[in-house]
Symmetry: D2
Amino acid sequence: MYCFNNDYSEGAHPRILEAIKNASSDQHTGYSLDSHTEHAKALIKQAVHREDVDIHMLVGGTQTNMLVISAALRPHQAVIAAETGHINVHETGAVESTGHKVLTRQAADGKLTPALIQTTLDGHTDEHMVQPKMVYISNTTEIGTQYTLDELEALSRFCRQKGLYLFLDGARLGAALTSPVNDLTLADIARLVDVFYIGGTKNGALFGEALVIAHPGLKEDFRFMIKQKGAMLAKGFLLGIQFEELFQDDLFFQMAAYANQMAAILKEAFTDCGFPFFSDSATNQQFPILPNDLIAKLRESYQFQDQQAVDADHTAVRFVTSWATKEEAVRRFAQDLKRLA
Amino acid sequence: MYCFNNDYSEGAHPRILEAIKNASSDQHTGYSLDSHTEHAKALIKQAVHREDVDIHMLVGGTQTNMLVISAALRPHQAVIAAETGHINVHETGAVESTGHKVLTRQAADGKLTPALIQTTLDGHTDEHMVQPKMVYISNTTEIGTQYTLDELEALSRFCRQKGLYLFLDGARLGAALTSPVNDLTLADIARLVDVFYIGGTKNGALFGEALVIAHPGLKEDFRFMIKQKGAMLAKGFLLGIQFEELFQDDLFFQMAAYANQMAAILKEAFTDCGFPFFSDSATNQQFPILPNDLIAKLRESYQFQDQQAVDADHTAVRFVTSWATKEEAVRRFAQDLKRLA
Amino acid sequence: MYCFNNDYSEGAHPRILEAIKNASSDQHTGYSLDSHTEHAKALIKQAVHREDVDIHMLVGGTQTNMLVISAALRPHQAVIAAETGHINVHETGAVESTGHKVLTRQAADGKLTPALIQTTLDGHTDEHMVQPKMVYISNTTEIGTQYTLDELEALSRFCRQKGLYLFLDGARLGAALTSPVNDLTLADIARLVDVFYIGGTKNGALFGEALVIAHPGLKEDFRFMIKQKGAMLAKGFLLGIQFEELFQDDLFFQMAAYANQMAAILKEAFTDCGFPFFSDSATNQQFPILPNDLIAKLRESYQFQDQQAVDADHTAVRFVTSWATKEEAVRRFAQDLKRLA
Amino acid sequence: MYCFNNDYSEGAHPRILEAIKNASSDQHTGYSLDSHTEHAKALIKQAVHREDVDIHMLVGGTQTNMLVISAALRPHQAVIAAETGHINVHETGAVESTGHKVLTRQAADGKLTPALIQTTLDGHTDEHMVQPKMVYISNTTEIGTQYTLDELEALSRFCRQKGLYLFLDGARLGAALTSPVNDLTLADIARLVDVFYIGGTKNGALFGEALVIAHPGLKEDFRFMIKQKGAMLAKGFLLGIQFEELFQDDLFFQMAAYANQMAAILKEAFTDCGFPFFSDSATNQQFPILPNDLIAKLRESYQFQDQQAVDADHTAVRFVTSWATKEEAVRRFAQDLKRLA
């Protein structure tokens, strides 16, 4: 049985484990005030081409989303997201638990646009309604799609005009930035959005998201917020060591590119068999629409998740690859698919 | 420079790192639904002599405190703690951030008693005041003291009579249970309190607290709460692997006992020099009261924290040892102390 | 200029003002523990044909909605509402401010059905999503429609099967119960829903909503919740006096029936002129779709609100009548409409 | 039986009832956007000698406290109060329910000083603790004492130096400003504090507190907060009408002065009988310490509350007078006291 359920099934890249082991017997300052974290921050500042950002390293994505949103908004303010947005669907109301409404818009490809956001602004005009103040996007999106430079520039321009913070969830940012259709850089993102994070959990770290705060208004007292939400890791140096390893050369990008390549093999196999896709993804998540009987046969040897029923006989399913996905497993799957389809 | 600041300065016991490495390339189910976690839970159930408890593994202490308290209380209910309690002082209002008041009582030795709790109940009699519903204690306490079996039985009886949940923060439970003056077992605790946790972060794990829920009323839907507070680790198997290692033999207790032994050497040295203590601790935290000029000299070679000024010339300071504390460093410190004092 | 903006433009029915004046110099127990409130509760219990309900009198609707929902739900639970539901649109995120998500369903006529609710249940299956636990409906709805006995019985049966609390917002319950198409009684409602309220603010009181809690699980400690949310009126006897007056004879129903009659005159006028309606209302809110140039002319003499643009030249507008609406104003409006249309 | 329980036992001053009646059949704009409210705000601006303040009229004190504090603070920030402060003791954790810790200091006379506040600042130095950001005081305090001009100037200076908002709860501000020992004016208060309110509920209105926001940083979007917390009265004009009446001449001050005079008669009677006082109050709350057997005898004819047991045989009790207290009742009480003592 091989598992294509997600990109966090395995532990971590051997280099990361080795780095943790090597530093394990040293004494480190707690709570992310150690020298490894300092170094990792410097590396990330280089990578995003900005010295004036604040960087915080956190354990997980839901935690980071909740923290950023609750730190940025006053009590009556709301965040706008695509209906498929992770904060709307898969975080058990974490944002609402901090007091804020998530205003959603349907977006077929999981991506927000200025026009979609404007319709929400149009409907929120006085004090009887929440006040939209932040826009949440993810890249890649929850359905594997990604923003182009043009799209992100348009969003950035719009949000700045309207006084909205723009927040990019980068849990799978590596996959986006190394996809064959990508035209964005980390520096573009750091220039265009107010706050974003670089996901380690889904790209070869044991855990960890590096939050980059560019907007000065979002920086103040952020460590208080981290501590209050139970998100300040005592041994914060573990995060620093991992991001040091990810960014001291291009390990972060190598792993993501590899995951995308493995997914491309799957995509080609589905395409060759004539199966359509639920979304147009060039990244490490693929959403083919398959006949239910084929799905049942494939599940004798492979794990993968249902995304959504399409009709009585077909279901969109999700295949995810990672830095750890074995190429031989992918090749074998492609053969099995062609045999069974 | 040797650091006695805390018990989370180093990484993890080599056996724990090895176990993580060995399992790193396997594919695991996410979100703590994996087989290592299952096994670790079974081991902990054996250790606490109860099969009917629910166990959840979480990353850190503040997170765990916030989760337990906010999951247990209705909006108008409050938790009672010693004024020195971690939730009152050092969690940046995490409990209040979930909507609940912390009612505090001064307790010279950091320990609550039925009599102290009763005074709080006496002052909260109608709907114009919050309703006390949970009692929070820690063992060891924040100042290194610990509960005896008699004391815990009295608290347990009292809380059950009054309809109060009894919650024990065990961030340093290992130190308490292996102290020379301890007469409690894990099984006693699991029998006497409604919910508690076994701290890994401060006892040789990379991170991790094993929460044990004994009261049926506190079990329902707890995983929803974990996810909502951003506390559900994607690679939850990392927690399972660590607690497997801690409890498959007595590694958990060995490490804690060692930390206590190292602290006993420090304690003896302070005592030999005639210094009094801020609290009576037989565990891995020692709080000697030292002259300020001696403190300054010691700090040329050792790191340790101020606890509290005692008078113009003396300060209570905190020395913490751990599984990783080097005996030679402790011996050297004892010599330096005798030389400088 | 005559105002059809809403049903809370005027003060209160003269009998209510008189009753307050008559009791003003008496000394009353505070916080709704007075004898007038006691009497009003007894009258309402008679009116709903249940002695076993708990009754609380509150100042306003948003306050009442927020209180009921936040008192009923655990932190991870959510309330289901129609997209047009007042709690979703016009309460500035009051429900979310207490930590709970509002899950919405589109319902053309503003009414929820078991089928609509089931689709929400189908999409919320595990701990990565909020847990639906309450259904919020309003009668009349925000667009003037109302539930039939059959519909409410179906909802009630469904919610009980699924373990969902059913909550009816009755800010305009008087209008619903006295409409010509109504087949529900107060007793039916008290039998079929778990908690509801009888709106006074929009039906001739200075202010006041009488909350009726039927489900035993929702009763406990409710006064703590009232106080905590700043909703406990010091001079609570003012609420008791008003509801005494509303329910000691049928003043409550008389006023609502009168408001509906005034609305029926408007409805007839719009119908006679051939204008369609945005919703099918037999109650005190009417939503005709009018040409924009006619709207402009009418606004020279009458105030009323826009509901929603229908096309470039037509807008659905809202006319509201009340116990205080002057029949001569309604008649004059009907003439003006026919003249201008 | 005559009741000295509190200052909100009766309805409202006849002039206020008359004003409401006179305006009852007019049509008013909802939600405090009416002309009466506009006029009342203008009158209050005159009374406080500032045109640049924002004024909002709210229904009750707990509501106002919760609103001001939750609107002013970011999630990690806390408010400092005397241990006897209303927000700490008698609001069922309303402040905590919005996520904020109340940091308390013991103050024998119920009044905070710069020195007391400084001790709290000294103990809150980093991100592991909440960040003090607001100081809450009340005038009169909960035990009838009051601030002098010198004291308020010192507090104001201190808070501005430290970047703390200074908030004055004026639920009984009328009593303070008309007391014989007062040397403060409304204009002083508006100059020295950042936000305060003028209590109507306890001074002759049916209900109502006029919130005055002087600090620009506290003004933005306050109406959103009011609506979100369920505090926006649909018939807000009722608040405007009442404050118009209170401030169009000196009715507000007349009523408060009368209440103080009635209390002075009680105070003289207790003093004449040689009874000591729990606090030194020149206002409408008196706290004599009486023998328990005398208390029992007095309670055959009078209602009043226990404040606190002093020893086995004596209790501090609370007598409250108001605009509505009958002088003959006060005189009769004085005679009864002398007879029974």
